[in-house]
């Protein structure tokens, strides 16, 4: 089933044209981060003398490493906690459906539909009472609960693709739920679990409302780092571009490293 050469050439051109179109805004931003402020606000041009001054300025002003470390910590922590809660739940829902299963799934997802600004004050009060403001634990719990419904949905659909007869065989041997999960289900569904996790990490990484409102310094992640560069008086586009490039670089690298995995992982029904 190898396509003919002209056809492959046409697909290559089309595919790359699409890829570059999608990437254009990001590429343009990276380019702007190497311009001087005066060049960045002038009419667009590809010809300029590149400078690193924006990166130096950004580095002097804001604790990038601290914020990036917090982002990693919060995204991984939130995702790990969500997985811990979500895997058993998805397993139970997928393999032992009852007539309430669908209602439960839809109810779970509907917990995600509340606009954050509407519950800010109640949440702030709760976090204040429980002394969780500006703590890693508070935000990790928040992220875990926010991503739990989506994680359960994705895991549920991956689990559904696993043929039940494999599990039945194990169950006759008297395996416990934990053994069944650990030794049979997870290895089979691991790619799916990995890709759902990556999705959840990306969502935590980019979450900008609660991270801004519930942290001050100790637990502040990259979204607050960006908020200290966006729209300062004077709008320094080149510095903002440099800060943004720094903020998305780690997650792009993670995405690149895991993307083969991700694509294989999101394969619905791969194990049929």
């Amino acid at each position: 089933m190898t396509p003919s050469l002209p056809r492959r050439l046409a697909t290559t051109i089309l595919g790359w044209a699409i890829a570059l179109t999608f990437f254009l805004p990001i590429g343009w931003m990276v380019l702007a981060s190497f311009k001087t402020e005066v060049d960045a606000i002038a009419a667009p041009s590809l010809f300029f003398s590149p400078t690193l001054e924006n990166y130096v300025a950004v580095h002097e002003r804001a604790p990038y490493v601290h914020a990036a470390a917090n982002s990693v910590y919060l995204s991984l922590g939130g995702t790990a906690l969500a997985l811990l809660l979500g895997i058993p739940a998805a397993y139970r829902l997928a393999f032992f459906p009852t007539r309430h299963t669908r209602t439960l799934l839809v109810w779970m997802i509907s917990t995600r539909m509340l606009p954050a600004a509407g519950v800010l004050v109640p949440m702030y009060l709760l976090f204040n009472w429980t002394r969780l403001l500006d703590t890693h634990a508070g935000l990790i719990g928040m992220y875990a609960l926010m991503n739990l419904p989506i994680l359960i949905w994705l895991l549920y659909s991956f689990f559904r693709d696993i043929p039940t007869d494999i599990l039945d065989a194990a169950r006759i041997d008297g395996a416990s739920a934990r053994e069944e999960l650990r030794h049979i289900l997870l290895p089979l569904a691991l790619p799916g679990v990995a890709s759902a996790s990556l999705l959840s990490i990306v969502l935590c990484w980019n979450e900008a409302f609660w991270s801004l409102n519930l942290t001050t310094t100790d637990a502040a992640p990259l979204t607050t780092f960006i908020a200290s560069f966006s729209a300062p008086e004077g709008l320094f586009w080149a510095k903002l571009s440099a800060a943004s490039t720094l903020a998305i670089a780690p997650i792009l690298v993670i995405g690149w490293l895991s993307q083969r995995h991700l694509v294989r992982g999101l394969t619905f029904g791969a194990v049929k």
């Binding site: 089933m1 829902l93 949905w153 053994e179 990484w205 900008a208």
Partner: protein, 293 residues
Amino acid sequence: MTPRTRLGVLPGDWRLLSPAVGALALWMVLPLAMTLWFSFQRYNLLTPQLRGFAGAANYATLVSDPALWASIANTVVLVGSVLVISIIAGLLVAAIFDEPFSGRRMARLFVVAPFFVMPTVGALIWKNLLMHPVNGLFAAAARGLGMPAVDWFTDWPMASIVLIVAWQWTPFAFLIFLTAMQSIDPSVREAALLDGADWRDRFIHLVLPHLRRAIGIVAMVEAIFLLTVFAEILVTTGGGPGLATTNLAFFIYIKALLQYDVGIASAAGVIAILLANGIAFFFMRTVSRSIDV
């Protein structure tokens, strides 16, 4: 879980479910109860001395506010158009990337990249570096072609927002569709090819039915996030001109964080929950069936 015995927790045990359900219930019930309570209170953060029971006054104020209805309509338009655009574009791009071509892995990352960009950053790039009618890249391109530059956020405010949000979410749809496509049994494809089915036939009769569940999941996950789109609006149009780009999330933002009216914001939050549940009900009837719940 406490599997100390040989059997431990049995595979069908409800306790497997309870931590997740319990946590979610707590997470939902506590803020929801507080929101409901506040929605019947007269409570502005800036004038706490005027606090007291308000009855249904907050709801009455909201329902008689023309901005509420405009923002609900805008929410529906925004969610609907981005869903349609990102699913169709995602399908088409995935179909192309399903074919082998040179440098596909790198190109694939380029397509996915917008999903990894923070919404605020993405919107700032579009507004200042691309769509700016004087110094933006698009304006320069238009001038180069001898056309007048488009004044995006004045003349096409909602379309501009839809464009930016669709740019962020199409990659997500693309990724999930591509994976699903690659899991189509190769022997089925061969058979279709042997039958002489052309590209379009195969797409409609083989690929699309296979993608039913993937489309359902994409639609649902996207809907959740699109209902609460906010950062993109704040940094580009500020909800305007007029009410052209004020969606429900932005409307609540104005009430909660500019007016600091906790009572009104809570009441609007309750209305948003009702709307969300309406949509959830819709999903229950349509999408969840297609993903075979």
